[in-house]
Amino acid sequence: MAGAMRPAGPGARWRPSELLLPTPAGLYCPPADIHIDPVRPVARALITHGHSDHARAGHGAVLATRETLAIMALRYGEGFAGSRQVALPGEAIRIGEVDFRFLPAGHVLGSAQIAVESRNLRIVASGDYKRERDPTCAPFEPVPCDIFITEATFGLPVFRHPPAAGEVAKLLESVRLFPERTHIVGAYSLGKAQRLMALIREAGYERPIYIHGAVEKITAFYREEGVPLGETRLVAGQDRKALGGEIVICPPSATQDLWARRFPDPVTAFASGWMRIRARARQKGVELPLVVSDHADWDDLLATIREVGAGEIWVTHGEADALVHWCGTAGLRARPLHLVGYGDEGEAETEAEAADAPEA
């Protein structure tokens, strides 16, 4: 980009790395002295969404959407940060000479991209995002920018997510085929679980959906926010032997616990973009893989990069090599940031979720 070549005197356009740069703690904005989704405690943090690899406890001041702040309070307790401030969607907040705007990312309820703008240079840190329709959160809003920072969780052309409604239909078909077996569906407790519930309701399924204790608080929060999820019941306190033919939603880690074996002849399902890869499903002992993801698939990553019109792409985490290579073939400058600590190929997310799961 031409602007990057100019010397950065006062008032001159920033070189990109003067406005935002990767550090071991996460993305850092020097002129505002603020981190985005820091992985270790910092004085001031902007948080894109509530998943535990992005939203950690122990920062001094936190700026995030109202929903994300509420989710952090639910997960870590009210004292999760020294102070907090609500970012309204689309509204600029000025810190020093930098404007920050939070815009919907379509990932989970409250998820946001953060547009960082100063001296005519706009960088968008998109956090985790998806483009597929999701009845539980606001859709991704493409923001034209100079530099687009994208995830690449599913940054390989083998990842093409089929429509989620079709995958939910597979689940309901299996429930009809095996009316005596409990269908245990592993789904991340924030976002995926509630999206599945909403999709199951859209498909016309009206029976109660049974949930693991680890899913309960977030589900109640989604309901308070007006997301229609139908009737849910906690598994705890039920006679599990009587739950044949029912759908149970639990964190992924619980599908392989003793917890899951007490249901009558369970069918193990897992809702995740990883389920596209057969070996991944088998490694997790999954019999009914459901390819439902809250991340952009390959085609949507490319479409989004084209849509925002950025001349330069930074790739935060996931399969960065392939996406960077593709950008090169499309005439875009691109570089991997090699940020550590964010859902490395999905495993970190599983771990964080497992740590969240109380006895149920």
């Binding site: 390989l156 052309p157 083998v158 093409r160 890869i277 399969e319 090599d321 392939a322 290579h325």
Partner: protein
């Protein structure tokens, strides 16, 4: 094709044997001829397409995708068919979905020039699951956790006959097996063609556990050396017209006779032998490394035959002449075996000797020093003892209470992880193949690590996750699918590596090759500088090298 694809897909995700059997049997029952016969052939490895190769599929996908993106994807997925099935650009409504018989017959008949267009048109017409199944079929490696035996067992259930009955008529049959189904469904006679040299499922042993000796009476047992070769079954018989059929089977029933004409021509008596495939030079057993030169080849050159003469050290007789003697006690079969081998009188077949012992203490002494307990110069090729009940019948599978294996204690050495590579199959996308090294004095002085081996098992799934995470966090360099992992005196990961033997090798930088290395323990606690030095390994080399 859709139903077949659906079956393979279901089988691939079904862990339970009985459920797999039910799925296959349901499919065979509900599917007409010839579709079901071709499906059965695919599951029993009975379909070989000469012109359809993995190379053809690579060429097709190369025309349609960026090579770097394909390489990265293949590395991630770890399976060629699946990678291509997922990456293939969709052309909805391109053609009509092909039927399985059409696919099989076209693959057999089509010439090299027609195949690419044909396969591409099918791939365009199929969905992801269909493409995956088609590619599995073409490459001939289904890898869906179904053995030939399991598929035959499912077929046998259609007629309520024991699986061995299907095994007996099997070799006379050709896909799509219309005769077989007619017989199983009571619509036709039992197929005539009796195989004169069929495979018989092998009998396997259990590892000896601590305390087993307290419960076992030494007088009721015989012991043999456990040879470090390849378990084989050699079977020979004559067809109705008198021509001899001789087959050499691997322990899973794969016919490997084509690579061992030197053995096949020597087996001139009717019968079925169980023994160890070895390479012998001047009546001395050669190392497993040497034997490996003869393995995994479809054909063999005269030079190979001269340099690596094959040999079978026999320890059991299943069929004597035309008489199946598997029900007889081990001691009786052993007497018949001795008589059989003296009739055969071939230098390629000899008897695996018994180890004389009166007490477990004596056997323990023999195991720790095979050379002076009868194995003599062949002691290097001994990897322990086999302990067999004198009254044990020969039973398929791994029956309890008859045979035990008692391996020589493994050698252990502490090595430092140097490189990690992503695995395939079950471990695809995890860094599960590890190259490790030990210290040696560098040319310019000081110490350096030199790779001494590679291992991809010995750890649990939980440990794999931990090592995988370690590799990702401590990557120094990436070379395609390989990551160089931090390995310095003060920072790095130490593995306690177990192995069975050591050979000199010119192929490895260290000059050493380990036999059967595996990760015995992960020493998270141990700093790399405390790992072993190459002198420790060199001391273990056989003196005759």
């Amino acid at each position: 094709m859709n139903r077949f694809a659906w079956l393979l897909d279901r089988l691939a995700y079904e862990p339970r044997r009985n459920a797999k059997l039910a799925l296959i049997a349901d499919y065979l029952r509900a599917t007409p001829d010839p579709d079901r016969g071709y499906a059965l052939a695919a599951m029993t490895g009975g379909l070989v397409f000469r012109n359809a190769k993995a190379g053809l599929i690579r060429a097709l996908i190369a025309e349609r995708t960026d090579p770097v993106l394909f390489a990265l994807s293949y590395d991630y997925v770890g399976d060629l068919s699946e990678t291509v099935a997922l990456m293939w650009p969709a052309r909805h409504g391109a053609n009509a979905t092909p039927h399985l018989p059409e696919v099989v017959e076209s693959l057999r008949e089509a010439g090299k020039t027609d195949l690419p267009r044909l396969v591409a048109s099918w791939l365009d017409a199929l969905d992801e699951t269909g493409r995956w199944a088609l590619l599995k079929l073409i490459t001939g490696a289904l890898r869906i956790g179904v053995s030939a035996r399991l598929a035959k067992t499912a077929a046998a259930s259609l007629g309520g006959v024991p699986p061995d009955e299907v095994e007996q008529v099997w070799h006379g049959l050709e896909p799509p097996y219309a005769e077989l189904f007619a017989w199983l469904e009571g619509r036709g006679p039992r197929p005539e063609a009796r195989d004169p040299a069929p495979f018989r499922p092998v009998m396997l042993s259990h590892p000896l556990e601590d305390g087993d000796f307290d419960r076992l009476d030494p007088a009721a047992f015989a012991a043999e050396w456990k040879w470090d070769g390849i378990r084989v079954q050699a079977a020979s018989g004559r067809k109705a017209d008198g021509t001899r059929v001789t087959r050499l089977y691997s322990r899973t029933g794969e016919d490997i006779a084509g690579a061992f004409p030197d053995l096949v021509e020597e087996l001139t008596q009717d019968g079925a032998l169980d023994g160890e495939l070895l390479v012998m030079r001047d009546s001395a057993v050669q190392s497993f490394n040497t034997l490996q030169q003869r393995l995994n080849r479809k054909t063999v050159t005269a030079k190979m035959l001269g340099e690596f003469p094959a040999h079978i050290r026999v320890y059991d007789l299943l069929v004597d002449g035309e008489e199946d003697i598997r029900h007889l006690p081990f001691a009786e079969r052993r007497r018949r075996l001795e008589a059989f081998l003296s009739r055969l009188a071939s230098p390629r077949f000899d008897l695996s000797p018994l180890i004389p012992f009166a007490s477990w203490r004596e056997l323990t002494a023999a195991r720790s020093d095979p050379a002076s307990a009868g194995a003599g110069a062949d002691a290097e090729a001994v990897e322990g003892c086999m302990i067999k009940r004198r009254d044990s019948p020969y039973l398929p599978g791994r029956p309890k209470g008859y045979w035990w294996k008692w391996k020589r204690d493994a050698r252990l050495v502490d090595c430092v992880l140097m490189y990690a590579q992503r695995g395939h199959g079950k471990r695809s996308s995890f860094y599960s193949d590890y190259t490790f090294g030990v210290w040696r004095v560098a040319a310019e002085g000081g110490l350096e690590l030199v790779p001494v081996g590679k291992a991809y098992f010995g750890f649990t799934d939980e440990e794999l996750l931990e090592i995988d995470r370690y590799v990702r966090k401590n990557t120094l360099n990436r070379f395609g699918p390989v990551r160089e992992v931090r390995h310095a005196a003060e920072s790095g990961l130490v593995f306690e590596v177990a192995f069975e033997g050591l050979q000199r090798s010119t192929r490895h930088k260290s000059g050493l090759a380990m036999r059967f290395p595996r990760i015995n323990r992960i020493r998270w606690d141990k700093p790399p500088r405390e790992a072993d030095h190459i002198e420790v390994l060199e001391a273990l080399l056989p003196t005759n090298g």
